[in-house]
Amino acid sequence: MATKDRSEPPSKRAWLLRSLIPASHGRKQTSSLVWVLAVALGLSAGVGAYTFSYAKGLSYFGTDPRACTNCHIMEPEYAGWQKGSHHDVAVCIDCHLPRSFVSKYLVKAENGYRHGKLFTTQTFEEPITIKPAGLAILQSNCERCHADLVHDILRPERGGAAAAAAEFPCIHCHWTVGHGERAGLGGPLSATEFGAQPDAPNMEIRD
């Protein structure tokens, strides 16, 4: 029966998985080049040694949730997490960073690089929305902690956490476990925003 085709997901499904991610704003995934760069030069490559240390770059390697709120931009999520159902059982990195030692620090470097750069240049899109890569990590962490309970409902033959994250993730239903209701916040009025509105010809562009 056709089900055998399921065992090795065709590449077009992989494409679909990505296309299904909500609110991914279609931003390109960080290239492996950036990864190498980030690892080679460390966070400083991204945000400069000054910014890095000032932004408590070192505490960024710890597990203290407040490390994340070194950036005020993370505060809504911090506040949401505190009220969420997991604040007493899981900290930020339990859900948002991979478990294995190496990949954990790779991701930290990558996040630190990207977040730091984006934060400094304020070029990220708001409301801040978890990206496909972030969702896959998240999924693997849900599965890790709840493996016993959810054993029967996982379908590894359709691909690992990345596939599940895109096709049918835990947060399809449990989207409030981390932060309760969504804590996003729209950013400041920007010039590009006006340009992006063809049906508003008389719109002025603010300096």
Binding site: F119, G187, L189, A200
Partner: protein, 460 residues
């Protein structure tokens, strides 16, 4: 700017550079204390538009709704709205657009200014310090008289900070007497209010004092009440005080029942106008955004007008409300994505599906109402008696009320999609039943034909 500066900005406390009072209707002064909000407020003078919302053109005035949809003009025959009825636009235009409308060529009341100017100081003046007393007399003035007084008084501004904020602490508050009286009548009734928890709560209390939005309402409710001061169905003329018809509830059906039982001070039965061609006694619906929103799922979930039309936004480290009140479709990332985890294109598509369905039904209703009016006119021409046509005229009243209710509402059905579609379905049913009543009346005039007595109204 680097992280250091961002942190600094984050710590910045906010300082009042000038004192503002109840008599400061000039937003520029408030803007000195709150430049970010003022900056947004000023943008309401920018012209923005969407498929169904606002107006982005370059002409001096927005296009005429009555030209785009001739069936509107046909419904309004015999009423000022058939002369001039345009698309709305930003708050900055509210006073000038009112002064420019040809509807003023017909006698209008001072009540008009209730929702188009920062009028509280003038009400206090008329009431020797008591705004409510002043309001209670304001409808007796002609529009021109009161407008003159407004300009003398120096308060001829569109809606301003002081209309929604208490100068002392910037708390939200409602200032419009029409809203206060309307919401009190609603609270006093037993109409269900699933979206207004503080009213349900007040009803459980002793009811010693009437419901007072500025005291009893939750902060979240206030984020909609400030808009409900104006974005509502009303009656406004020199014959009767400005009325928000909420004494039986907020649905189209509740409000129809309210008007049906209303009499003018002179004891005559309430009516907005007599249709020029058919003689039907009809009702006029105006922008019932607050009422329709109340029927929707967003309201039930406590999603307020401000959530979508004045969303919070990040200014550096501060979180402020975008005072550029406009279509949320121009602001999807702030207005919708804060709650909905879907791409902007998908959210636009969802709104589009809802609005197109509503638009299709609206046009279907327009065709039906025109057919009914044509039918009645033809019947009169062929000598049908008023008695024979009475059921058809009653059906025209019912049909027009419902059709106008959704046509005048400005979200093209979005604020409560299923309810809007239901109201339109009823409008279509009544309009077609009216046509049938006309044909029956004519047939009845010919005993040989079937059909017999005029059709009885089928019950809701």
């Amino acid at each position: 700017m680097n992280i250091a500066e961002r942190k600094a900005e984050h710590r910045q406390p906010f300082v009042r550079v000038v004192e503002v009072t109840e008599d400061d209707t000039d937003p520029a002064k408030w803007g000195k204390n709150w430049p970010l909000e003022y900056d947004g407020y000023k943008r309401t003078a920018l012209q923005t538009g969407t498929r169904f919302g606002g107006y982005a053109g370059s002409e001096a005035l927005p296009p005429e709704k009555i030209e785009r949809d001739p069936w509107l003009a046909r419904m309004f025959k015999g009423y000022a709205f058939s002369i001039d009825y345009r698309d709305r636009r930003g708050h900055a235009f509210m006073l000038s657009d009112q002064e420019a409308t040809k509807r003023l060529t017909k006698p209008q009341s001072g009540s008009c200014l209730h929702c188009h100017a920062s009028i509280l100081p003038l009400y206090r003046q008329l009431g020797n310090g008591d705004a409510m007393a002043g309001f209670e007399h304001s409808f007796e003035y002609s529009y021109q008289e009161l407008s003159a007084k407004l300009h003398e008084s120096g308060h001829a501004h569109p809606v301003s900070c002081v209309d929604c904020h208490a100068p002392a602490d910037m708390a939200l508050r409602v200032t419009r007497p029409g809203f206060v009286r309307g919401i009190q009548a609603l609270a006093a009734s037993d109409a269900p209010v699933p979206a207004l928890p503080s009213i349900a709560l007040w009803r459980q209390g002793k009811r010693t004092a009437p419901y007072d939005p500025n005291v009893d309402a939750t902060r979240n409710e206030m984020r909609s009440f400030v808009c409900g001061q104006c974005h509502v169905e009303y009656y406004c003329s020199t014959k009767m005080i400005l009325t928000f018809p909420w004494g039986k509830g907020l649905s189209a059906q509740d409000i129809e029942a309210y008007w049906d039982e209303t009499n003018f001070p002179d004891g005559k039965k309430f009516v907005d106008y007599v249709h020029e061609e058919t003689g039907a006694h009809v009702l006029k619906a105006q922008h019932p955004e607050f009422e329709l929103w109340n029927q929707g799922i967003h309201a039930r979930n406590g999603v307020s007008c401000a959530d979508c039309h004045m969303p919070y936004m990040r200014e550096g480290a501060a979180k402020i409300s975008d005072h550029w009140v406009r279509s949320p479709l121009l602001n999807v990332n702030r207005s919708c994505q804060t709650c909905h985890r879907a791409p902007e294109s998908e959210l636009r598509a969802r709104v589009n599906v809802i609005q197109e369905r509503n638009y299709e039904l609206l046009q279907r209703g327009g065709a039906a109402i025109v057919a009914l009016i044509d039918g009645i006119v033809a019947a009169k021409a062929s000598g049908a008696t008023p008695e024979a046509l009475a059921p058809a005229l009653e059906l025209q009243r019912r049909a027009q009320w419902r059709l106008d209710f959704i046509a005048a509402e400005n979200s093209m059905g979005f604020h409560a999609p299923q309810e809007a579609a239901k109201v339109l379905a009823e409008a279509i049913d009544y309009a077609r039943q009216g046509e049938i009543a006309v044909l029956r009346a004519q047939a009845a005039a010919r005993p040989s034909l079937p059909g017999g007595a005029p059709a009885a109204l089928s019950e809701e």
